[in-house]
């Protein structure tokens, strides 16, 4: 008899495996490969992948680029606040303690934008959800020394709320921004 406290006796490697245990090994093995295949395949055929080009960037440079973008952009008043209208497909959103530079921004529904995500100081969390549907939410990690360009297309017009979900210091609770997705601007 085998117990976990005694050394196994004889040629234990060649002992047969119970039939049901063998079947389970098969099921578990197939499932393991299946979920690997699905995840891997989804990067090719799927519409939701946390993937985009990244660049190392100095926070000063990130600041300069964001300012240049903001200077070029026009603004539009929505819900009583001035929202940035991106001059082209690029949208700069940069986190710093405790706000989001570049927000609020106004975006067109159904148009693909390149979100340039970065930070000036410490790590932040880019956590987005539409106001009308809280369960549709995504979260990306933001670095101070890296610019991440993630394409996104928002289909549903709504007000989208961004909160910081990486601890960035005392004051982190109030780090909120929003953007407006509208059929037309």
């Amino acid at each position: 008899m085998s117990t976990p406290l005694d050394p196994p006796k004889g040629n234990w490697w060649d002992n047969p495996v119970n039939r049901r245990e063998s079947i389970w090994l098969g099921i578990a093995g197939i499932w393991s490969l299946a979920i690997f295949g699905w995840m891997s395949g989804f990067t090719r055929f799927g519409d939701q992948n946390p993937v985009g080009e990244t660049y190392e960037v100095d926070p000063q440079e990130q600041w300069a680029r964001t300012q240049e973008y903001l200077d070029e952009a026009e603004t539009i008043e929505i819900d009583g606040v001035d929202a940035v209208i991106p001059p082209d497909d690029s949208v700069y959103i940069t986190g710093y303690r405790f706000a989001w530079e570049g927000l609020p921004v106004a975006l067109e529904a159904g148009k693909q934008y390149d979100l340039h995500l970065g930070a000036y100081d410490v790590q932040h969390g880019f956590s987005v959800r539409p106001e009308q549907s809280l369960s549709q939410q995504i979260n990306l990690q933001i670095f101070p020394d890296t610019e991440w360009i993630v394409p996104m297309t928002f289909e549903d017009p709504d007000t989208y709320h961004v909160i910081c979900n990486e601890y960035c210091g005392s004051g982190h609770n109030g780090m909120h921004g929003k953007f407006f997705v509208r059929e037309e601007l």
Binding site: P4, V122, I163
Partner: protein, 578 residues
């Protein structure tokens, strides 16, 4: 010394005694250090538990106990004391059980065991001090001490000291394995010793990563390095951040094999299969550190997909092997001793009134269904976007650590109370209800954390935001109602944890001394060796395991269902990514 002798046992002239429950030959040094490390772990649990209460009562915003200025200190204290100190002190004790005790050897290098303990203690007290003296509003470390936050320099220094101490403390274990193999070439280690050995290798990998990460940050804090790279720190940090939790996983699984055998009468149904699963862990489990980097910039898709899947789910496959092998061991062992009528008779007739047994079984079930499945789900590259840094993440690791590992360790502490301290429970009734009470309350809290995290996007690492985000009308107040059962569940789980401490401590101090030969009611019906002798290994392999097979099919169905649900939710999102 009088106080210490209260806890001592009688040994023969070589310093050994025979355990009346397991039949193991136990050396006095090994036993004394297991007790010392174990008691220290429980003290860390008390500290961490106190801060569990302040954290829970802050996140339950109806109470809002701690201001934002102070909240992160409390959160850091909770994280380090429970996730690191309670776990790692216990794990050193487990190494000394799994090595010297199981092998019937002396503890080699007892002075090194003492030195390791001292260094770990200095590290642990230092980390607590560094966290607690963080001025209100300044950057608290939390678990991760992410750069470039300006976390106290001493924090990194003491964290390194603690890790070095754990390395020193593990040396006597390595020496025991070395001496055993040198003295008995060609003899196979018992499964529990083998599991402990793999655990210790995983631990070394994790510790090296931790020393690299905290060392890197420390050099930057004392201005030897001018700049620090966020992504590099995160990669190094998660070798320990996730690796430490893999130590917990392997230690827990080793404890599962151990306790299901000694209090349930389980056998090993296949040495080959169970050991292969441990070897898979050895190669693949630490790749799981990448789970934390799924939505980071700067890491390629191929790197993320390969690592997050532990290379084609090698480690998840290993866990599913143990998910069958451990209950199957119980089923086979109990059927062999005539306790297995019908599909689940072996389970329903099991010693459910023994808290060591019930803790272990709840740990297995809840770890698998709650912690394990969610870990694989959130570790998928794309699904991680919906889990990362939400309260659901907190739910996941309460499923693994608070339900899985802590419950298994509760069982082990109960076991050690009787077998090593030789004390009866101060109240058997109270001890009996603790696993049920804790598993129920913590189970509810954990499931609700996931629910509010995924379906309401409630973030982690914040003192408020559900009711009120300062400076805006927007809030996540829709989730507010769910925080009532969540808050109650959390508070009740803490009460159950406190009860566990009270019963344990009171039993140590005032419990009736168990006489030599008294098993304290721990042994399974018919004794631990009931199937020894007449039953051959072949008969064990041929034993009916249909109950376990059914349970595993239920597990798989749950897994598939949750997988589909999570992917359905993800595909409802807008288009993201290149």
């Amino acid at each position: 010394m009088k106080l210490l002798s209260h806890f001592d046992n009688d040994y023969d002239e070589d310093g050994f005694r025979t355990c009346s429950v397991t039949g193991l030959d136990i050396h006095q040094d090994a036993e004394r250090y297991v007790k010392l490390y174990g008691v220290t772990a429980v003290i860390a649990l008390v500290f961490g538990g106190i801060f569990a209460l302040t954290v829970a009562l802050t996140r339950w915003e109806v109470v809002s106990l701690i201001s934002e200025q102070n909240y992160y200190r409390h959160l850091s204290m909770h994280a380090w004391n429970i996730l690191i100190f309670w776990m790692v002190f216990m794990e050193i004790a487990i190494l000394y059980v799994g090595g010297p005790m199981v092998l019937g050897r002396k503890l080699p290098l007892p002075k090194i065991a003492g030195l390791g303990y001292l260094i770990m203690l200095i590290g642990a007290i230092g980390v607590n001090w560094a966290i607690w003296t963080t001025p209100p509003g300044a950057d608290a470390p939390l678990l991760t001490a992410y750069v470039p936050l300006e976390v106290a320099t001493e924090f990194y220094a003491f964290a390194i000291i603690f890790l070095l101490g754990a390395t020193v403390a593990a040396l006597p274990f390595f020496a025991a394995i070395w001496l055993e193999k040198r003295g008995n070439p060609g003899k196979t280690l018992p499964l529990v010793a083998f599991g402990a050995f793999i655990t210790s290798i995983i631990a070394v990998q994790a510790i090296l990563g931790g020393i690299a990460a905290f060392g890197y940050a420390f050099l930057w804090r004392i201005e030897i390095l001018d700049t620090i790279n966020t992504g590099v720190y995160r990669q190094l940090y998660w070798i320990i951040g996730h690796g430490s939790q893999q130590i917990n996983l392997l230690a827990m699984i080793t404890v599962w094999y151990f306790l299901t055998h000694v209090v349930g009468g389980a056998v090993v149904v296949s040495e080959k299969v169970s050991r292969s699963a441990f070897v898979l862990y050895l190669f693949f489990i630490n790749l799981g550190a990448a789970h934390h980097l799924m939505v980071d910039p700067g890491v390629s898709v191929g790197w993320r997909v390969f690592n997050t899947s532990y290379a084609f789910y090698g480690a998840a496959f290993a866990s599913m092997i143990h998910a069958f092998a451990i209950p199957a061991g119980l089923e086979a062992g109990r059927r062999q001793r005539g306790k297995g009528g019908g599909l689940f008779g072996w389970l329903t007739s099991a010693p459910w009134k023994n808290p060591v047994f019930s803790s272990t079984i709840f740990s297995i079930i809840l770890f698998g269904f709650v912690g394990g499945i969610t870990g694989v789900l959130m570790g998928q590259l794309q699904l991680n976007m919906t889990w990362h840094n939400t309260f659901a993440t907190v739910g996941h690791f309460h499923g693994t650590v608070a339900l899985g590992t802590s419950l298994a360790f509760f069982g082990l502490v109960f076991f050690v109370t009787k077998t090593m301290f030789r004390r009866d429970f101060i109240s058997t009734k109270l001890a009996q209800i603790i696993p049920y009470f804790y598993a129920g309350a913590m189970g509810i809290a954990t499931l609700l954390m996931m629910y509010v995290g995924i379906l309401y996007g409630v973030p982690r690492r914040t003192s408020s935001v559900v009711e009120n985000i300062p400076g805006t009308d927007f809030s996540i107040a829709a989730a507010e109602l769910l925080f009532i059962p969540l808050g109650l569940g959390a508070v009740l789980a803490i009460v159950a944890g406190a009860l566990f401490i009270v019963v344990t401590v009171a039993s140590l101090l005032f419990g009736k001394r168990l006489e030599d030969g008294d098993d304290g009611g721990l042994l399974p019906d018919g004794g631990i060796a009931a199937t020894d002798g007449g039953i051959t290994t072949e008969e064990i392999h041929a034993t009916d395991m249909r109950g376990t097979f059914t349970l595993c099919l239920i597990f798989m169905a749950t897994f598939v269902l949750l997988y589909i649900l999570n992917w359905f939710l993800l595909t409802q999102l807008w288009q993201i990514g290149a």
